[in-house]
Symmetry: D2
Subunit: 331 residues, 4 copies
C-alpha cells in the first residue's frame, strides 16, 4: 500500500514506459538469474492467457489436469480467447506425471486431432500439493521430447518455493533449471492489491507478448501502480517471507484442528491450504460464522486457506470456532 | 450418382433457391412428422458446428462423452469456431446417462464456471452402441430440467434406427418424441458422395441457421447437388435400407470371425462396426492386405466397419483373409 | 489514493461480495436515476468487450467509426474475443449520424452478410468532439429501428458531460433518456489508478455480465480496491469536477497557444484535447522537452491533452515551451 | 460430371489417400511449375480461411479492399474463424496499389495496434477488374518489404488469366513469379459442381494446412470426388478454355447491349461480368424474366455475369429481352 502511494508522486509516461516498470524487469532477471521478458498484468486468468497464446499455433492444444484453474475456474476464457482445446487429464492429487504424456504421441501429425503443444502445470497445485524439482524436470523433459512447451501457472508459486526451502535457488531449480518456458508469477494471492506477471524464461517466445497483453485486456495505462506492487514483494524477497508465513499458519491450523472430533484431514498440508472433510451438519453454521469455500460438496469436503496476513490469533480463534460448531453439530 | 446427374440438367438459382432444395425441406418435415428447419451441408463436422453454434450463448459449454467425434476427431474445430468449452465425460461404452448430468447443477449461476447449455449425444455412438428410445428421452428430460438443449450427432443415426426396428417411427421416437432439439443427419457414411443435413426439430432455434451455415463454410453455391444426394436416400426410405444392409453385413462378419482363434469380440455388434482385439503380430500384415483403422493400439484393438455397399462376398473374403493372417501370425 | 488505503482495512469477501462494491452499484443507480447493472473492471478495452459480448449473437456485427478506440487502439481484441466484425464507417469528426446507418438496412436477413447488431459510439470522441443529446437520441432511434442496440464507449464521458452543462441531468439526457443500452464509464482517464465500469442501463441485457467479466479477464478478486476508486469519484460528483477542470485547462491552453506563430488549431476545443498542426521541424525538439503523442504524422498533427490534475502553471509553462521551440524551429 | 462418375468405381481410402488426389497435387505442381502444397476443399470461403489461418500469428491482421469477398460476402466467417481484424481499404475499382500499404508502416511494432501480416488480393476482382502481372509484382514487393505475406483469392483467377493471354505462363507471371505466397484456386465458378483448392506456392507455409482444412470443416472424407472434379478442369487446360469462353460471352453481351437505350456501361468488360446502370423501372420486370443480382441499388447498378456454359444463343436471347423490357420501362 505504501509502495503504491509512493508511485503516486509526480507524472510518468503511460503503458509501462516508466522507471518502476523497468526496475521490475530487472528484478525478474535477477530473481530467475537469466534474461527474461516480464509483463505485468491485472490478474491470473489474464496472465495465463497471454502465456498460452504466445505458445500456441493453429490446431494446437494445451494439456493440463482436470483440476487446473485454466480448466475449471476461468469460465471458459481459455477456449474463448485461445480458440484451442484443453486436454484435461484426470489425476488423483492434481499433479501430472511423465506417463500421462505418453498417449499424446499418437496425436502427433494426425490431421483429425489437435496437436499437443503446451503442457500447463500449476505450482503449487489447486489441491495444495507441490511438484518437487525433479518432478518438474522430468515433465519438462517428456514434454520437450514431444515438441511441447511448458507453462507454469504460478498463482501460488511462492508457497511452493517456501515449501521447498524458501530460497531463490529453489525457485530457479523448479523453473528455469527444470526447463520451464514461461511462468505466471502470482502476486494477488500473496498480499498484493491486484498485480501479477507473465515471465518468459525464453525471451524468444515473448515477441508477441506486448500485443497479447493488450489483446487480453491486461494492459494498464498507469502501469507504475502495478509495478510498485510487484516491486514491493520482490524487494528483500518479501514474496518468500509472506508465503512462508502463510504456509506456517496452515500447518498450525492443521495441528490445532487435527485433534477435533469430526475434522478429517486426509493428508498433512504442504502449502497454505487444507481440504478437510467435515460433518455435513456443521458446515453451514461454521461458514456463516466465518466464510470458506466448498471443495467437493458431495463428500462434505471444504477448503480452508491461510494468507500472508493471517495471525496466530486468527488461527487459534478459528480453531476454537471449529471445535464449537462441530460439537454443536454432533450434539 | 444418377440423382446428381439428373440435377445437372438445366439452370437453377444458386444458394438453395431451387426446387430440389425445397423438396428436401419437405422430405425432412415428413420424415420427422413435424415442422423442421433443415440445412444441407458438406460434412459432419460442419453440421455439428452449425447445430451447436445455434444453441450456445456467451460462456456456455457443450457436454459430451470423451469419445465423442466433436471432442476427439474434429481437430479442435468446435473450440476454434465456437470459442466454447466441451465438458467431456468419461464413459465405458460411449453412452451418457442422466446421472452424468447431476454434477453440472453446481456450475449453474457460478461466474467462475462455464454454464452447461447443450448436451450432445452421438447416435449410434463412436463405439457402435445405440441409445434406446427411453434412454434418449431420460437424457433429454434431465438436460431440459437443467435448462440445457439436446443435440444428436447423427452421422450414423440411420444405423441406429435400423437397429431399433428400421422404421420412421423408430427415428421419431428417438428424436422428436424423446425431446431432441436438433439432429445432424448423416448421409456420407450412408452412401452419399458428400452431403449431410442439420435438422432443427424446433424451428425457433434455427433463426440464425443460414448465417451460421455460411460462417461455418458449409454454404454450397450449387446446392442442388447436395439436395439431389440427400433426396436420393430419403426417397423410399433408402437410408434405412442401406443402413440395415450395412448392419447385417457386420453381424455376418461377426458370425464369421467369432470362431477364428485369436479374434476376441468383446461384445456382439449393434450396428455396422466391430472392435475386435487381435494378436499383435497379425495386425500389420492383415492391414496391408486390407486397410482398417486402429482403435486402441495399446491393447491391440482395431475397428472393422461395413458399409451400405459391402457384399456378402466381401464379408466372406475378408473373413478368409483374417483366418489366413491370424494363423500365420500365431505360427 | 486515500480511498484505496481506507479499503485496505479489515478483511472482506473476494470477487465483489463486499460492502464497497454494493455501494458502487447503488451509486450508479442514483447517477443514472434508473435500475442499472454495473460491473467494475480494470480497463477500458475490457469494459468495451464485456458490453459488446453481451449484445452480440452469432454472425452479428458492431458498427462504429473508423477512428473508434475499439477499431484502432485495442490491438484486435474485439475481433479476437468477440469473433465478430467491426463495420467501421469513415467520418470527418469521429461522429456518426443517422444517415450513416441507412446502408445497413440491406444487410438485414441476407445470409451472405453479417448482421448489424450494435451501434458503438464514443463520447467524447477520439477527436475531442462531443455528441449533443439530440444527436445521441437520433442515433439511438435509427439504430433501434434497425433492431440494433446502442453502446457508448464512455472512457471520457465525464468530459462530454462537463462540456454539456456538467450535471447529472446532462449525463442522463445523453444516455438513458436518449435510448442508450449500455455505457462503459471511464475512471482511469479521470484520475483513478485503474478502474472502470460497464453499466447496463437495461438490466435484462446483463444476465451474462458476470460470466463475461470473468471471460474477459476483468474479474478482480480484491474488488473492493476497484470499488473504492470508483466511489471516490462518484461521491459528491467529483467525476464532473475533475473532468470540468481538465476541459478548462485545455481551453486555457488553446487560448495561450492560438497566438503563437506556427501553431494551427483547426477548431476550438470541446473537451480536454487539442489537435494542432505544427511546423515539422518543431515537433521532435518540443516532444523531447515534454512528451505528447502524434496524431496524423503525415500532416504534422499532434495531440495535446490536459488532465484532472493539470494546473494553470502547467499550462503556462507548456505554452512558454511551445513558443520557445517553435521560434527556434522557424529560425 | 463424367469425371465424377468415373471416380465412383471401386473402393478407395478416405481423406485424400487415393490416386486421384495424388494426381491433383502433381497437376498443380506442373501448373505453377514449382513445388506446391495443394489442399482440395468444398468452397471458396473455406479455402480463403485455410490460406489466411496458415499465415496469421497472434494480433495479426489481413489487409484487403472494402469490396473483397472475405470482407463483404462471407458473413463474418473470417473474423469468427481467424479471430483477426480485416483492415479494409476503400478503392475505386476494387484494386489495391502499393501506395495503399504505406500507412501500414506506422502500425508495425506498436502494441496498441494489430500488425499487418497478410495482403489479400482478389484476382479477377469483385468488380470484374484484373490486376496486371506487374501490378501484382509491385504489390508483393511492397508487402514483403513490410514483412507481410500475399494471398490471392482466385475464385475467378481463371478469368483473369484468360484475359491476360490465356496461358499457363500468364498464370505463373501473376502468381509465383510475382511473389504470391498462396492462391485459392477456384473451380465452382468455372463449371465444377463444388470444388476448390488452396495452393501454397511456398510449401513451408503449409505445415498446418491439413489440420486447418479439418478445422475449417473442409475435409471431405470421399476426397476423390473433389479430386475428380478438379482434375477434369486441369487436364488439357480446360479451366482456361472454359474461362476464356465465359469472358468472350460477356464481351459479346457488352457489344449487344451497348446500343440499347437506357443501358449505361461505365467501362468495357475485362472478364465475365458487367455492371450496367439501368432505368429504375426496368430492373424488376427484367429480373423477373431472368434473374440477376443487384450491385448498388441506390444508383440502379446491377451485375450480369456469363459462365462457362453460356451460349451465344443465350446472349442473344438475353440482349433481346433487355431491349424489350427497357423499351417497356421507358414508355
Amino acid at each position: 500500500m505504501e509502495a503504491i502511494a509512493a508511485a503516486n508522486t509526480g507524472h510518468a509516461l503511460p503503458y509501462g514506459d516508466d522507471d518502476l516498470t523497468r526496475s521490475c524487469q530487472r528484478a525478474f532477471d535477477e530473481l530467475f538469474d537469466t534474461d527474461t521478458r516480464a509483463f505485468l498484468t491485472f490478474n491470473g486468468t489474464g496472465s495465463n492467457l497471454i502465456a498460452l497464446a504466445a505458445l500456441l499455433g493453429p490446431a494446437d492444444a494445451v494439456v493440463c489436469t482436470q483440476q487446473a484453474h485454466i480448466n475449471l475456474d476461468e469460465a471458459g476464457a481459455p477456449e474463448r480467447f485461445l480458440g484451442a482445446k484443453l486436454i484435461d487429464v484426470p489425476t488423483r492429487e492434481a499433479k501430472l506425471a511423465p506417463d500421462d504424456l505418453a498417449p499424446l504421441r499418437e496425436l502427433l501429425g494426425n490431421p483429425h486431432h489437435v496437436q499437443p503443444a503446451v503442457l500447463s502445470l500449476t505450482q503449487s497445485t489447486e489441491l495444495g500439493t507441490v511438484y518437487q524439482e525433479d518432478e518438474v524436470a522430468a515433465l519438462c523433459g517428456a514434454a520437450h521430447e514431444l515438441g511441447m512447451r511448458v507453462h507454469v501457472d504460478g498463482a501460488r508459486i511462492a508457497n511452493a518455493v517456501a515449501a521447498r526451502g524458501g530460497t531463490r535457488e529453489a525457485l530457479r531449480r523448479m523453473t528455469v533449471e527444470a526447463g520451464v518456458d514461461v511462468v505466471t508469477f502470482g502476486g494477488t494471492k500473496n498480499g498484493l492489491m491486484g498485480a501479477e506477471a507473465v515471465v518468459f524464461l525464453d525471451p524468444d517466445l515473448a515477441t508477441r507478448g506486448e500485443l497479447l497483453r493488450k489483446q487480453a485486456n491486461q494492459l494498464a495505462s498507469k502501469m507504475r501502480y502495478l509495478a510498485a506492487q510487484v516491486m514491493a514483494i520482490l524487494e528483500n524477497d518479501r514474496w518468500l517471507e509472506l508465503a512462508g508465513h502463510a504456509n506456517d499458519m496452515t500447518r498450525r491450523l492443521w495441528e490445532a484442528t487435527t485433534p477435533i472430533a469430526g475434522v478429517v484431514h486426509e493428508r498433512a498440508p504442504e502449502v497454505n491450504s487444507l481440504f478437510p472433510v467435515l460433518p455435513a451438519a456443521a458446515i453451514e453454521p461454521l461458514r456463516e460464522w466465518c466464510f470458506f469455500w466448498d471443495w467437493e460438496p458431495s463428500r462434505c469436503q471444504v477448503r480452508w486457506m491461510t494468507a500472508w496476513d493471517t495471525t496466530t490469533e486468527d488461527v487459534e480463534l478459528f480453531a476454537r470456532g471449529i471445535r464449537h460448531y462441530l460439537e454443536s453439530a454432533i450434539d
